[in-house]
Symmetry: C2
Subunit: 334 residues, 2 copies
């Protein structure tokens, strides 16, 4: 696939360089590690540092969510690959204010290992208390009884938002983690892939799919889904995704939720709004009300085609986190 | 190309429906016309109404820019087609506060005709003073001596932003239009297309291009550019686009500009930041400083691949408009 890049080996470094140049009022790159970015804007009430990270290629995830109201810093990996422990540790040291740091990342083997190693080093070498919360929102990736084995996909956006808000509320580490874990526990996602992406280094498609097919439950690095089927209408796709989420965590009339219809990269907003339309109809028919909705590219997979639906069940505390204003380079909410 | 749609003839109606459902705290659909959307949030200082519009398929343009700080209303056309005069007139009647309405749209024959007819009706039938400002920022589309013949592309975002801010400053219609025309006069764009999009109704690609080619100066409906060439590196593409803009309006050391690197639909943000990096390097080498930068999908062409660079030369008044906060469903600036 065609790419607007220079040398494929430089894409991440050059993206970061461009990003820090474009948003120099928001972002600093740490002198100790080029893959470590921290915010210049922090709420004065915040005690606990919030660190996010993961592979590149998911923009706005993850570096786009560093700023006021969300994360204090990010460790940036290669495309679809975990950052190594070093940049994670450097961000940790930079953002700790003495009250500990929350690590938020998706449940992938490489991330679990590298964030784990960085957490150990922070504890043993720097005496910084680190706690971890993993995104496990992808319903398709493991059965209901094993939610802890699931992958993190677009629902991580809600986890970052909730946790960032909790930190801004001045919560101590225990309470920040309680909110992060609650946000993850109450968040479910299901995705559908239409077209693959390709890595700049290889140019190979991330998965194979026919011209009239879709992949239900696809992971956001192209991991196979639970079912390959004929491409259906937007309404039928929305129905399937919502159905699978509700089968996993039944919601009932009177429940309030936040909804995200997330584009994987090359799906026009027009199509995302057509999907959103049916999602809201379905939830409203069940008496479930949508407290706030997000439609757009929030966690992508380069130029992959398709979308995911994420539903977070809200209580009063999570509603406050959803309403909390954010000012990040790639996401602003007033 | 694969689409997440229902019936192709319903895409615009269903998109609007989903959009108004998702953003019901921001947007109303007028009962008199389904293609007429108006904001629920208006600055109390604003006297002059700001109306935007054009074809669908450019999301966030145009309906995504209705809200506080930008437009008061939008008339929505079919994909890549002007809205008819009726929805334009209905929005005009709805947003006029007695001090007149500014019409902002791109310089395309259909838009010129339909916005012109709506302006006449507003004057003759409703006694509403309407003034028009056309976006003519696309350097590739006509020679320098005939800027008024040029197409409007991504630079329209800057015109909407400047004009919306001027309206919020409490300016009268004359001054609002002075700012709109200045913003357009000082804004230049150049785009490059890598891959076409396709209309849901036809499924046909919007233009033909080889696997190793790019189209320089491509219009955002797939209008042919000024040159088809081999796909080059991101740096070379950035150099070419900036060069063509600077040849058209020389900027000199000490000048301050706003820059937009706009994705056409399917180009990952990673690539846009790599392009931005070189744009800023080039401008800084000339002593031109970037007052504010925007990188992302601002005016798209469905799932077209490629990007454009827009440069707006700033004076003190335009800087104030650039800094002015905005709260719209698809664009927020604090």
């Amino acid at each position: 696939m065609k790419k607007l890049v220079n040398s494929p080996v430089d894409v991440v470094e050059e993206m970061i360089e461009g990003y820090v140049m474009a948003h120099s009022d928001y972002m600093s790159q740490l002198p100790t590690n080029k893959r470590s970015l921290v915010t210049k804007k922090t709420d004065k009430n915040r005690k606990v540092g919030v660190l996010i990270g993961g592979g590149s290629g998911h923009e706005p995830g993850f570096m786009g969510y560093v700023g006021q109201g969300m994360a204090d810093g990010v460790a940036v990996g290669n495309i679809f690959a975990s950052p190594s422990p070093d940049p994670i540790l450097e961000v940790t040291k930079s953002i700790d204010q003495g009250s500990g740091v929350a690590f938020l990342f998706g449940n992938y083997a490489g991330d679990v290992m590298n964030f784990g190693m960085a957490a150990e080093s922070a504890d043993l070498e720097e005496d910084i208390e680190v706690r971890k919360a993993l995104g496990t929102d992808d319903v398709a990736s493991a059965p209901k009884e094993e939610k802890e084995k699931r992958r993190g996909i677009a629902g991580e956006f809600f986890i970052f938002k909730a946790t960032g808000a909790a930190a801004d509320f001045g919560y101590e580490l225990n309470d920040v983690m309680r909110v992060a874990e609650k946000a993850n526990a109450q968040t479910r996602s299901m995705g559908v892939g239409l077209t693959p992406c390709s890595l700049p280094q290889t140019g190979e498609p991330s998965f194979e799919i026919g011209d009239d097919e879709m992949e239900i439950g696809l992971g956001h690095h192209g991991e196979p889904g639970i079912e390959k089927g004929k491409l259906e209408s937007a309404d039928r796709v929305a129905e399937r995704l919502v159905q699978d989420i509700l089968a996993d965590e039944p919601l009932t009339g009177g429940d309030e939720v936040a909804v995200l219809v997330n584009g994987l990269g090359s799906t026009p907003r027009m199509e995302l709004y057509i999907v959103y339309r049916r999602v809201q109809q379905l939830l409203n028919e069940l008496g479930i009300s949508i407290y706030r909705s997000y439609v757009g590219d929030y966690i992508t997979s380069l130029e992959m085609g398709g979308c995911s639906v994420t539903i977070m069940k809200l209580d009063e505390e999570l509603k406050q986190t959803v309403d909390h204003p954010v000012d990040c380079p790639m996401f602003v909410q007033r």
